[in-house]
Each structure stands twice: as C-alpha cells, then as structure tokens.
C-alpha cells in the first residue's frame, strides 16, 4: 500500500511537470495555430544551461536558476523572430510543422554534441534535510519542488491571463485573430510573448526533469514529444485539461514501470494517444473546435 501511495505521489509530481510544459505548448498553439515539435529542444536547452551554469561555472543555484529562466525567455524571443515570423503569414500547416521539426533536430543535436550524451547530475534547491515521511508518503526534495512549482505556475498563469493587460490581449488574440487585430492588439508582440513564456515554462520543466533523473538530450527531447499524448488527452486547447492529462500520463508512466515492464514506460503514452483519438478525440475539455478545418 505504501508503495502504491509513493508511486502515485511520483506520478502526480511528474504529471504536474508535463502539465507545466503542456501549458507552454498550448500557449503557442492557441496564439499561432502551430504544433511546436521543438518543445523537447527547448526543455533540453533550459536543463543544460542550468547544468552548465551551476556545475561548470559553479554559480550559486539561485542565480543560475534565474539566469537560465532569463536566457530561455530570450531564446523564445529569438526563435520567434528569426524562424517563426518569416513563415507565420503563410498559414501552411506543413511548413509550420516541418520548421519546428527542423528546429527540434538542430537543438537536440547541438545539445547532444556539447554535452556528449553522458549522464550528468544537477544540484537541488531544497536540501535533503527537508525530505520526510508523512502518512506513508516519502516526500523528497524533488516532490516538494515539483508540487510547489506546478501549483505556483498554475496560479501565476491564472492571474496573468485573468488580470494583466498583456494576458487579456493574448486571450483575445487566441479567441479571434482578425477582431483582435482590428482592435489594435499588437500581433507581433503577442506572438513573441507567447513563444517567450513557452520557452520559460519549458526551461522550468527541463530543470526539474533534469533534477529528477539527470539531464540527457535524448530523454529530454523524448519528454518534449510526450506533450502530444498530454494535450490530446486534455482536448488540445484547454489548460485545465492539459494539467489533468499530464497527471494521468504521469501516473500511467510511473505505474507501468514497476507493474508491467520498464520498456513500455516510454511507449504507453503513445498507445494512449492512439486510443484517445479512436475513442474520444475531444479529450476532457469536450471542445467542439476539433472538427473545425
């Protein structure tokens, strides 16, 4: 029983991380209608930058963390300006998808070249002294960070989109691009912001995932592709659905390892994806938008 509880805690923490990165994905999808296959590359960028700053340059953890987030924000802006904006006006799904695929290949190959695919170890924020058993759960520092980060990001996201002018204009742009444009909402800034925030959330996920099982370019870009089961489960453009989907996929992954076979761990999310598409393509949110062509 304790083992079961512990596994579910692991699953929920992992799922919250998937949920955070799925929020970034959906942000891009809603603002530009683009499936970002380079999500894994952005996750890897954050994790490895944090690793390089904290382990190679020996900076204090907090400063390295802050600098990583700022740099990822900048990466999002740069990617949007140089790579996405030239093709944005084309409204061509094939170009959109292929350009992010090319980007994903570039980021992944650079990371695996520089960091040479060996396993590294990331420092943790919360010292291990904080980890304690509680009702049969074993809270390690990773769980604490993942849960606080997940809930914190959800709250921040909620407040940002409910109250800040920028967030409100981003929502308006996602709702109806043409109307938003006529009302004077700056399109370029909205797109740039959505990519930058997405890259920031990716970096956060990357750092936490890297803390969990060591940053490796392959596994981090695989984690980026696991976004697709998560968002399809949540019903492609709903945030709440994505978090629930993330938790479900995380639980599925953690339970399959010990109870079935560890090889299936990376496969099961994709089987779930196909099943969802067959059974209920709207996912949890029940959005009718999926039939719009």
């Amino acid at each position: 029983m304790e083992f079961l509880l512990q596994l579910s805690l692991d699953g929920v923490s992992l799922g919250l991380l998937y949920g955070i990165s799925a929020i970034g994905f959906i942000l891009i999808y809603r603002s530009s209608g683009l499936l970002n296959f380079a999500h894994g590359g952005m996750i890897g960028f954050g994790a490895f930058l944090f690793f390089a700053l904290s382990a190679w340059a020996n900076w204090p953890v907090i400063i390295a963390f802050a600098v990583t987030l700022v740099c990822s924000f900048g990466l999002g802006l740069i990617l949007e300006k140089w790579i996405i904006r030239p093709v944005f006006g084309r409204e061509n799904l094939i170009h959109y998808i292929l350009i992010t695929l090319g980007l994903a290949l570039m980021l992944k190959s650079v990371l695996s070249f520089v960091f040479e695919k060996s396993y590294h170890h990331l420092p943790v924020f919360v010292p291990h002294a904080f980890s304690r058993g509680w009702f049969g759960f074993q809270f390690t520092s990773f769980h604490i960070i993942a849960l606080t980060a997940g809930i914190g990001v959800l709250l921040l996201y909620r407040f940002y989109f409910a109250f800040s002018p920028q967030g409100i204009s981003m929502r308006a742009f996602a709702e109806n691009r043409l109307t938003a444009r006529t009302l004077g909402i700056p399109v370029k800034r909205i797109l740039a912001m959505s990519w930058a925030i997405s890259a920031l959330l990716c970096a956060l996920t990357g750092i936490l995932l890297g803390m969990m099982n060591g940053p490796a370019a392959d596994s981090l870009s695989a984690a980026g592709l696991k976004i697709f089961p998560v968002i399809v489960l949540g019903g492609i453009n709903s945030i709440g659905g994505a978090v629930i989907g993330g938790i479900i996929i995380g639980l599925l992954e953690t339970f399959v390892g010990p109870y079935a076979s560890p090889q299936l761990q990376n496969l099961l999310p994709y089987m779930a994806l196909v099943l969802i598409i067959v059974i209920k393509p709207t996912g949890f949110s029940g959005d009718r938008d999926f039939k719009k062509r």
């Binding site: 799904l93 695929l101 090319g102 695919k117 090889q263 719009k292």
Partner: protein, 366 residues
C-alpha cells in the same frame, strides 16, 4: 470537307520546333504529357542514358549511392502524392519503410517467396499498419494525423527493437540473397536495374494518377478541404487513398532497401529517418515529382558528404569518439537545411529546374 481532312491529318504531337507563343488548338492536346515530340524524345534518351548506360560505367561505390537515390525517390514520390498534393503530413514513413524491410526479410527467410511476390506483400503490410493510425485520425482536423503518426512511429520502432527477437532484435536481421528463376539477381547491378525499373514504373503510374480525376481531387483537398467537400469530393476517402498509396510505396521501397543492404538494423528506422523523408520533399519542392527526385539526390549526397567527412576525421584520429558526433552533425545540418529551405526557398530546388526548362522553351526570348 477539305478543312475536316486537314484537322484529321494533324499529327498527335505538334511540330518539334515550337515557337514561344504556341497555344493549344485542340482539346486533346491538354491530355498530352509532353508538349512536343521533342520533349518526349528528350525524356526517353535521358532515361536510357541515366538508368541504362550510366550504371554500366559507374564504380561500385557510386552505384550504391545511385541505388540509394532510387530507393529514397520511391518513398519521396509516395510522400509527394500525400504531402505535396493532398496536404497531409505523416511522421511515420520511416517506420513504414522499416515494416516493409522486415516483412520482406521474414518472407524471404521463412517462406522463401520469390522476389516479385515479396515486394507487393511488403507494401501491403505497410499499408495495413498505416491504416491503423490513419483511419481514426483522418476524419478529424489535419493536425491529428501528424500526432497519430508520431505515435505510430514510436510504437512500430518499439515493436521492431524489442518484440522481434526472433528476427535478430537490435543486432539486425540478415536478408538472404534474392532468388529468381531465370534472372541472375545476385549481382548488385541487376538488383539496381530492378530498383530502377520499379522507380520508373512508379513515377509513370503516379504521374498519371496525379493527372486524373483523383489527382485533381487531391489538389482541391490541399487548397481548401471544405470547398472541395462542397463540390462533392469525398474528403475522407481521397485522403485515405493518398495515405494508402504513399505508405504502400514506403513499404515497397523498404523491401527494396532490405534487398540492397542485406542486413537491416531496427534502430535505423527512427524518427530522424521520417524527418529525412520529409526533408527530401522540402529540399526538392513540395508538390512535384521532379522535386521528389531532385530532393532525394540532394539528401543522399548530403548524407554521404557528411559521412565521408566524418570517416576522414576518424582516420586522422583527431576526435576519438567521432561516431555520435557525426550523427549529431548530420542531424544539425538536416535541421538547418529544413529551416533555411522553408524560410528562404519554400518552392525548393525543383524551381531552378523549372526555370531552366522554361528558359529552353522560351529560347531565344528567355
């Protein structure tokens, strides 16, 4: 009466030396594949020289590359039908290619079927696997097909690596030599001729398919699915047909690949291979068969140049573990090429070819 006779006497093809402003004067001329008899003659001569005579003078290495170009071109023609014409994107063609290769290898090893049965069987199995992922997702928004085929890619890769231990598992599957009653298919050269003939037949058939009613329906679907459906085109059936044709061709090419390389390794058929096939389309130019062929030449040579450069650096022993580094370099260049082509030259290398051809057609006014 006299006028009637003159129209009857018109040859099926207009005069060889045509002037720039030549217009079509009869309805039937619209059906002609070549505008002039000279164009058709030029095509026949090129095909004979390129596929008939050139392999005889090439050395083994160049022949191997040429063989690879032909195999890639078959997949690329299939993808042209699906991605270039119908506008559907699949990320699982590397996996379908692998399914074709494994089907061919197991059919030859355990059932010892002849060559001409193995090839279509491999294509059929790949089509069935493709249908598994395409049937549910093609009814939905166009973004569902890339996601479903991404899942398909990983599932098939898992099956090939972990579940086919009887077929060699991750160590690879050794393909027996092709056996045929009369033709001596043992040499590389004769195998190349078989591949080249397959490619030419496929180009011929798919060119005719794309000029038919079905091909026009494909193009209508790419432009605007809703408008096409309003005009009475069954969107789902046509998309499924395009997907089936292209996965069949991927499986067929996989079988030819298995014959060509003799040992197939499951990790070869990964996501990068699928992206490579899509890169062929982007480099050559979306939506033209000539683009598919030019793109596959470009990709095979790009791969080979980077491989050669890597082999050179390994020999000179500058970098000890150069293997993964070369793979990283290749992936980086592939990604860079895709991004640059989409941003700066979305119509691909085929546009240069078209420009040159147009220049010849309009000479001396080009």
């Amino acid at each position: 009466m006299r006028q009637m006779k003159e129209t009857e006497k018109l040859k099926p093809f207009p005069p060889a030396f045509h002037s720039p402003g030549r217009l079509k004067t009869r309805y039937e001329e619209g059906f002609n594949r070549f505008r002039t008899a000279r164009g058709r003659r030029f095509m026949v001569i090129t095909v004979i020289c390129l596929f008939g005579l050139l392999p005889l003078v090439l050395n083994d290495y160049m022949l191997h590359l040429f063989h690879a170009v032909c195999i890639y071109a078959i997949v690329a023609v299939g993808l042209t039908i699906m991605t270039g014409y119908t506008g559907q994107l699949s990320l699982a063609h590397g996996a379908f290619f692998g399914i074709g290769a494994y089907t061919a290898a197991s059919l030859v090893t355990w059932a010892s079927l002849p060559f001409f049965l193995v090839i279509p069987a491999a294509g059929t199995v790949a089509t069935l696997f493709g249908a598994l992922f395409a049937i549910p997702s093609l009814r939905l928004k166009p973004i569902f097909l890339p996601m479903a085929t991404l899942a398909g890619q990983f599932i098939v890769e898992y099956i090939l690596v972990h579940r086919l231990s009887f077929a060699g598992g991750s160590k690879g599957f050794v393909m027996p030599k092709p056996v045929l009653v009369d033709l001596g298919l043992e040499t590389k050269l004769s195998l190349f001729y078989v591949t080249a003939i397959c490619l030419l037949i496929i180009i011929w058939l798919s060119d005719n398919l794309l000029r038919s009613k079905t091909g026009r329906a494909f193009r209508a679907l790419r432009q605007n699915e809703r408008a096409a459906a309003a005009m009475g085109i069954d969107a789902y059936r046509h998309k499924l047909f395009a997907f089936a044709v292209s996965s069949f061709l991927a499986g067929l090419a996989g079988a030819l690949f298995a014959y060509a390389v003799e040992t197939i390794v499951p990790t070869f058929f990964n996501l990068t291979l699928s992206i490579e096939f899509l890169a062929i389309m982007i480099i050559g130019g979306l939506g033209s068969i000539s683009g598919a062929i030019i793109g596959s030449v470009a990709i095979v040579f790009l791969k080979e140049i980077i491989g050669v450069a890597g082999a050179f650096s390994m020999n000179s022993n500058i970098h000890a573990g150069a293997g993964p580094a070369i793979i990283s370099l290749y992936e980086f260049v592939l990604g860079l090429v895709i991004v640059l082509f989409i941003i700066f030259k979305p119509e691909g290398l085929a546009s240069f070819y078209r420009k040159i051809k147009q220049g010849f057609n309009r000479w001396p006014f080009s």
